[in-house]
Symmetry: C2
Subunit: 408 residues, 2 copies
DNA sequence: AGACTTAGTTTATCCGATAGACAAAGTTTT
DNA sequence: AAAACTTTGTCTATCGGATAAACTAAGTCT
């Protein structure tokens, strides 16, 4: 059933507007808030009073006078509660306790040896429990847990399919909720990363954002009008399986030429023979390579390869150049289709950003449509390896604070 | 400045909910509306009264009793006003006068010889003026004009760039508004088509829809959560320039391997030599062809080629099979990235849908991710060549009726 | 004919936003 | 230092709109 209008809705909406305004625009007086939002001073006062009682806002003292009575400044109280963010990786579980502003209070990680859901669940419990126990005493306590997982998640928070974990239909959210008794939000790792960068990182104040997470695969989180876009059933963002080579390499998904085969760590397996330049090689060569030839790279993980790149290894540098180019091709596709304000590239692969960036930017500049690229910003993640972790925590915070939006 | 909540907003929201409910769900009693929307009976009665006074709703008599007093049925009054829809094509201007339900009252079209804005403007005037003059006398008169144009349109309705017309920065909307004195909505042809199919065609009751318009190029209109998605600056949907062949054919946009070079009427220029099967041909062949070889097709327009296809011409059939396959590849990319509920394919190319469809559907079935394709519907336009025309008219109607949306 | 049902309106009440008056606490001018 | 002015924030009366519940209207069923 649809949402209808009544006074409760009005209040919820306005309260959320006031809180958001204070949260985003630092210390403000009641009058400032009134002017910024268009709400009456009295309304702001009333709502602020409630927010003060809920401890979500605090008065931080008097501000500078502008020729009259000094204003009482209001600030969002990040310490009113905590949230837990979890990033479930293939080999590692990272967890953090944060305040409501995304400040990290405690952080833990635990290796993930086996991948079955029960083992993973146990590891998560072990990482989270101490965080819960050591959480500071705050008015609202731990308001929720957010988890980013490497797979597709449906609307109810069930992990439908996580190829790298070998999971299908695991209802992790419900299990954790039962275990800890706090609200749990489960989402895709790329969506969590997008939320993180948009809230705390490279995408602050951006309305339409695409976050590209490149690691062992590629996934995207799309933020449209400030909100995560999840598609009809929650599976949006599987851009790693966008074909950029109609009859290219065969992918594990059954399709061909998927972006992530060329522009993620999966590309390492297809590196050209040493000395061979990818530039001039025709596609026929690519086909031939696919079949057998062992990689010519000196290593097969990003940290190791980054070291070789640092030392100037030609094959490695050439490969990163090609990955950059292919990243640029895919990003261009997203830019032309979506017209985002900003593209943020993150994920483990970006440890090698130094050698990827030039080719990527050049390719986008060459190939994106002129109007689309004119006002487009492209950058790498600001939160580094913590995008998804902080984003997951923010998803929990965001659900707790409860945003209402109206469009005319 | 943001929208804040007050009673006026509540009323606007609820009134729009009531009107929409009646509009979409045929004859309903006040009680039905109350139950469907969750609004109080009294509220529905009040709002309905206003809608009756505005002539947007009418009472159509008593319905069947369900064991008590007979209900007074309410119906949306499509005859309360008119709208004008225009499709500005490269060679043709089509215009229609519709009622508020998208029913066509009058239709006109005029050839477009020269493409300069002044000529086009004159042709549009000539097509529209008689429609305005012969518009029936209705309570609200002509509520607005909607136009679909083959190019990129910014938020203000200015045509930024229309390559096929050779236009750059033409403020068609403002000129028409000044000329006719009614609100004008300008949008991309694909967006208009998407709106048309979503409202009156293959996409009714679909929340997340992608409409792919294939003609001399490819453009997409994306409807997200019932609303057209326009991107950060209004340029979203240029999917025709999504590269599906990283180092493929050089496109006029400067990029390579753009989808529309393989899956729109632009592909006719690259048809393989007669007898040569595209199936087994390597990419090297494609490259070689690009340079010079004249097309082996018996014709170069869709209507003519459709006739050859009907007669079983092998080269034509093979080409449409390949176009179908390439359409499927691009659609798969959109499906994996967007996870829409439904894909609707329309535009001039679909005159040949009979020979395109099998390969397209097979390709999607083969290549789309399992979860994405499981609940996906793919179909061709239901409104045929009128998608954009009716969609444009609907954009005007929709602006007139003024929808309010709230999300929690 | 009487009991029961369903449709739609009327009435009293509640809630929250608003304008404008007012109190509080400054700064500037004389 | 007193008076005049400014800015901040609260208080008060009012208004508009949703709601529940009572009520009227108009049916059906036994």
């Amino acid at each position: 059933m649809r949402v209808t209008g009544d006074q409760a809705l009005v209040k919820k909406l306005n309260k959320s507007i006031v809180l958001d305004t204070i949260r985003r625009n630092g210390p403000l007086s009641r009058t400032d808030v009134s002017e910024r939002t268009g709400l009456n001073k009295a309304t702001v006062s009333n709502l602020t009073l409630e927010l003060l009682e809920q401890k979500l806002v605090e008065e931080t003292g008097l501000g500078a006078s502008s020729g009259g009575r000094k204003p009482l400044m209001l600030l969002f109280n990040g310490a009113a509660g905590c949230a837990i963010g979890i990033e479930l990786g293939v080999t590692l579980v990272k967890a953090a306790l944060t305040d409501l502003k995304g400040g990290i209070l405690l952080e833990r990680s635990a290796p993930l040896g086996r991948h079955d859901p029960d083992t993973a669940f146990a590891v998560i419990l072990e990482a989270v429990r101490p965080l819960l126990e050591e959480a500071p005493d705050t008015p609202h306590g731990v308001v929720g847990i957010g988890i980013g997982v490497p797979g597709m998640v449906d609307e109810s928070g069930t992990i439908l399919y996580a190829p790298n974990l070998g999971w299908e239909g695991v209802d992790l959210g419900a299990r954790l909720e039962k275990e800890f008794g706090v609200p749990v939000v489960v989402d895709n790792e790329a969506n969590a990363g997008a939320a993180g960068e948009r809230e705390y990182g490279a995408g602050r104040h951006v309305r339409h954002l695409v976050y590209v997470s490149a690691g062992m695969g590629i996934g995207s989180g799309m933020i449209i009008d400030g909100q995560l876009y999840k598609g009809a059933w929650g599976y949006a963002g599987e851009t790693g399986h966008m074909s950029i080579e109609s009859d290219g390499r065969l992918c594990s998904c059954g399709s061909r030429g998927c972006w992530e085969l060329y522009a993620s760590e999966r590309a390492y397996a297809y590196a050209p023979a040493a000395g061979g330049s990818a530039e001039g090689s025709g596609d026929a060569d690519v086909r031939a390579r696919d079949a057998a030839s062992p990689s010519s790279l000196p290593a097969l993980t990003t940290p190791e390869l980054a070291e070789y790149a640092r030392q100037g290894d030609a094959a490695t540098l050439e490969m990163y150049r090609e990955i950059g180019r292919r990243l640029g091709i895919g990003v261009t596709n997203l830019v032309n289709g979506f017209n985002p304000e900003k593209i943020v590239v993150g994920g483990p692969l970006t440890e090698a950003k130094e050698w990827i960036e030039p080719a990527m930017l050049a390719t986008i500049a060459e190939r994106a449509l002129p109007y689309h690229r004119r006002e487009l910003a492209v950058s790498f993640s600001e939160l580094g390896s913590r995008s998804a972790l902080l984003g997951a925590a923010h998803l929990a915070v965001s659900q707790f604070l409860g945003r209402v939006r109206v469009s005319l």
